[in-house]
C-alpha cells in the first residue's frame, strides 16, 4: 500500500470549508465536508485521508455529510479527525472503526492554585516524581487492583464507582463529559481476552501519543470563560491524554472480527473492509454498543485514576492537600467515541449516532449536557498540541451543532509518519532540545519520543484557528508545556 495523494474533486465552499461532492464515487450517499483553510488543505491532500472521507459517505443512514476536522489525517477506514452521524430510523449503522481501537481516548485538564513561579524551584522534582509514580510505558499496568466485581462496576458506572474507594469526588464526576458514564454499558459483553489485556491497566498512561503534561496558561483569549473555568495567566495546569488501554483495544478488535461478514449479511456495500458496520438495531450492533460503552466508562476511570495519582504527587512535593492546591478538574472530553445525541436535521429533531474518531464534542452554551457552571460559555473543548508548542482550551459554539453535529478537532494532527519522524531525529536528543526550550521531557523510549517530536505534528495554532473561524468552537486560552511524561 502506498500513501497516495488525493487527486479527486475538492470544491471550496467557504474559506474554512471544502466539499467532496457525492458524485465523486458511486455509492457515496452524502457529500464530504472538510473544515480546513488553504494551508491545511494542501497538507491534507498528501495522504489518503480525503479518500477515507469519501468512503465514510457510503455508510447507510448517514446524515448531512461525512465530516472532517482540520487535523484530519490517514486512519484506517475512517480518517482520524472524522465525524459522521447515522440515523437508526433510516437503517443507520454503528461502525467500530468510527470510534477507533482506543475507545474513549480523550483528554482531561486539571487547574491549580500554583503559578509558574511557585513550581519552577520544584519543577525537576515534580516531573521526576510524576515519571516515577505514574505508570507509563508499553503494556505497563497500573498500581490499583480491582476485583472482578469491582471491574464490572467501573465498566458499568465509570468514575462514580471510584468514589467509594476514595479515588474520586463528586465534582470530578460532574465535570466529566457524560458524567463519565455512558448508559447501557454491558460489561458481560466485554470478552475474557479484553479483560485479560486491560484488567490491571486502569490508572496507567500507556505509550505512543499518550502523555501527562505540566502546562502554563500563557495567553487568555476569553476572560469570562477562563474565569469560569478557574484559569488565570501563568497558572500551572495538568493535561492528561489516555484512553481505555488494552481493554478498549481488544473490545474494538473483537467487534471488527465479529462484524467481518456483517456487511454482506445486511446487504451493505463498503469500499473498505475497515468500515465494517452493522445496523444499530441489529444484535451485532447492540453487542458492540454494550461493550463499547463499558470500555468508554473504563477509560474515564483510567483518566480519573491518572489525575488522582497526579494529585498525590503534587501533595507529596508541595506538602499540602490537593484540595488546598486547588487541583480541580476543569473538564474531561472523549475524542474517540460514538454517542446517541439529539440533533436538528432538515428542521426535524432526530436521535442519531454521532461517531467522533479523533474529534471532540463541542456543545454550545445552554446545552443540557454542559455543566451548569459553564452554561453561559459552552462546553470546554481541550485540544492538545505537540509537546514543544502548545495546547488549547476552547468552548463549543452554537454553530457547531448545525455544521458538525457539535464537534471540533482533537489535536494538531500528525504531519510526518513515524518513519519520517525517526529519520529526522537521528543523531538528535529530542529531550535535550526540549529542555533548551524550557520543557522537561521524560520518556521510556528514545524512539517513542522521536516519533512524537514537535515536528511530527501540524501546528496546533493553525488547526485551532480554523476551528475558531469556522464557528465550531471559540478560543479561551493557550497553554504552553513546561514538563511532560510519556511511555
Amino acid at each position: 500500500m502506498v500513501a497516495e495523494r488525493y487527486d479527486g474533486p475538492l470544491e471550496r465552499v467557504t474559506p474554512y470549508c471544502w466539499r467532496i461532492p457525492k458524485s465523486y464515487k458511486t455509492g457515496m450517499r452524502v457529500d464530504g465536508l472538510i473544515f480546513a483553510d488553504e494551508r491545511l488543505i494542501a497538507l491534507i491532500r498528501e495522504d489518503p485521508a480525503l479518500e477515507q472521507v469519501a468512503n465514510v459517505a457510503f455508510l447507510p443512514g448517514i446524515q448531512r455529510a461525512s465530516l472532517a476536522m482540520p487535523d484530519i489525517h490517514w486512519g484506517y477506514g475512517f480518517p482520524i479527525g472524522g465525524v459522521c452521524a447515522t440515523d437508526p430510523a433510516q437503517g443507520g449503522v454503528i461502525s467500530p472503526g468510527g470510534v477507533g481501537y482506543d475507545i474513549n481516548c480523550g483528554v482531561r485538564l486539571m487547574r491549580s492554585n500554583l503559578f509558574q513561579k511557585d513550581v519552577e524551584p520544584n519543577l525537576e522534582t515534580l516531573i521526576h516524581e510524576m515519571f516515577q509514580k505514574i505508570p507509563t510505558g508499553v503494556g505497563r499496568g497500573g498500581i490499583y487492583h480491582f476485583s472482578h466485581s469491582e471491574l464490572h462496576g467501573l465498566m458499568e458506572s465509570g468514575p462514580a464507582a471510584l468514589q467509594e474507594r476514595g479515588l474520586a469526588v463528586e465534582r470530578d464526576v460532574q465535570f466529566t463529559e457524560a458524567h463519565g458514564r455512558l448508559d447501557g454499558a454491558k460489561p458481560d459483553y466485554v470478552s475474557g481476552r479484553a479483560l485479560d489485556r486491560g484488567y490491571d491497566q486502569c490508572g496507567s498512561l500507556g505509550a505512543g501519543n499518550h502523555f501527562m503534561e505540566l502546562q502554563v496558561v500563557e495567553r487568555i483569549c476569553d476572560e469570562q470563560a477562563a474565569r469560569l473555568m478557574g484559569l488565570q495567566l501563568d497558572m500551572v495546569c495538568v493535561m492528561i491524554h489516555s484512553g481505555s488501554r488494552g481493554l478498549g483495544y481488544q473490545v474494538c478488535d473483537d467487534a471488527l472480527r465479529s462484524l467481518r461478514h456483517a456487511p454482506e449479511e445486511y446487504g451493505i456495500e463498503l469500499p473498505d473492509r475497515q468500515l465494517v458496520c452493522a445496523p444499530v438495531d441489529s444484535p451485532s450492533g447492540e453487542r458492540y454498543l454494550g461493550a463499547m460503552r463499558a470500555a468508554a466508562n473504563f477509560a474515564w476511570c483510567n483518566r480519573q485514576l491518572l489525575m488522582w495519582q497526579a494529585r498525590e504527587v503534587f501533595q507529596a512535593v508541595f506538602g499540602r492537600s490537593w484540595e488546598d492546591l486547588g487541583l480541580q478538574l476543569v473538564y474531561d472530553v472523549a475524542h474517540n467515541i460514538a454517542k446517541l445525541e439529539e440533533h436538528v436535521i432538515e428542521g426535524q429533531k432526530k436521535h442519531v449516532w454521532v461517531h467522533r474518531k479523533g474529534a471532540t464534542r463541542a456543545f454550545p452554551p445552554h446545552h443540557p449536557e454542559v455543566p451548569t457552571e459553564y452554561a453561559s460559555i459552552g462546553q470546554p473543548v481541550l485540544i492538545p498540541g505537540d509537546m514543544g508548542r502548545a495546547s488549547w482550551v476552547l468552548v463549543g459554539q452554537p454553530t457547531s451543532m448545525e455544521q458538525s453535529f457539535g464537534s471540533a478537532c482533537h489535536g494538531a494532527g500528525r504531519l510526518l509518519s513515524r518513519h519520517a519522524a525517526v529519520r529526522r531525529a537521528q543523531g538528535r536528543r529530542i529531550d535535550q532540545e526540549l529542555r533548551e526550550q524550557g520543557i522537561i521531557a521524560c520518556s521510556r523510549s528514545w524512539k517513542g519520543l522521536a516519533e512524537e517530536q514537535p515536528e511530527a505534528y501540524k501546528d496546533v495554532d493553525v488547526v485551532v484557528d480554523v476551528v475558531d473561524k469556522a464557528g465550531l468552537a471559540k478560543k479561551v486560552a493557550r497553554l504552553r508545556p513546561i514538563g511532560v511524561i510519556k511511555g
Partner: protein, 136 residues
C-alpha cells in the same frame, strides 16, 4: 524478509517470502521488531504453540499477529524464532523467546491492534507478499 513502511499515524509491515510458511514466520518476527528495539537480544527461553483456524489468508495473517500481540500483553513474552505450517484450514506454529526484561529490552511501541486496513496476502511472480497496518 520484512520491512516497515510509512503510515501517517501508525506503522505498516510488508513481508516477502518464497512460501507461505516463511511468510507467516517472517511476519511474526517483523511484528515483534515493532514492539522491541533489539529483537536480537531476546533469548530463547520459552516456547509457545499456536493453532489458528481460518481459510482466508489475509484474515489468518491478522489473526496470527493478533494472537502474538495477546501473548505479549498477557504474558509479557517477546518472541524471536518462529516455525509455522500453513495449510488450507489454518496454521500451526511454535515460537520461542523470553519474557520482557526491562534491563535488557527496550520497548518502542505499544501495539493497540493489527488492523484490517490495506490488509493483503497475495502471490506476485511466484513469491508471497503480505502487508498489514498496525495501530500504534
Amino acid at each position: 524478509m520484512y520491512e516497515t513502511f510509512a503510515h501517517t499515524a501508525d506503522v505498516g509491515l510488508r513481508v516477502k517470502a518464497p512460501d507461505l510458511n516463511t511468510l507467516f514466520a517472517d511476519a511474526g518476527q517483523g511484528f515483534f521488531t515493532l514492539i522491541v528495539s533489539n529483537l536480537s537480544d531476546v533469548e530463547l527461553r520459552s516456547r509457545v504453540e499456536f493453532h489458528i483456524a481460518g481459510r482466508d489468508l489475509a484474515y489468518l495473517l491478522a489473526d496470527w499477529l493478533n494472537e502474538l500481540l495477546f501473548v505479549f500483553e498477557s504474558r509479557r513474552l517477546l518472541l524471536r524464532e518462529f516455525e509455522v505450517t500453513v495449510d488450507p484450514d489454518g496454521l500451526k506454529a511454535v515460537a520461542r523467546g523470553e519474557t520482557v526484561d526491562e534491563g535488557r529490552h527496550v520497548l518502542d511501541h505499544e501495539v493497540k491492534a493489527v488492523t484490517y486496513h490495506g490488509l493483503r496476502v497475495e502471490q506476485l511472480n511466484g513469491d508471497w507478499l503480505a502487508e498489514v497496518i498496525v495501530d500504534i
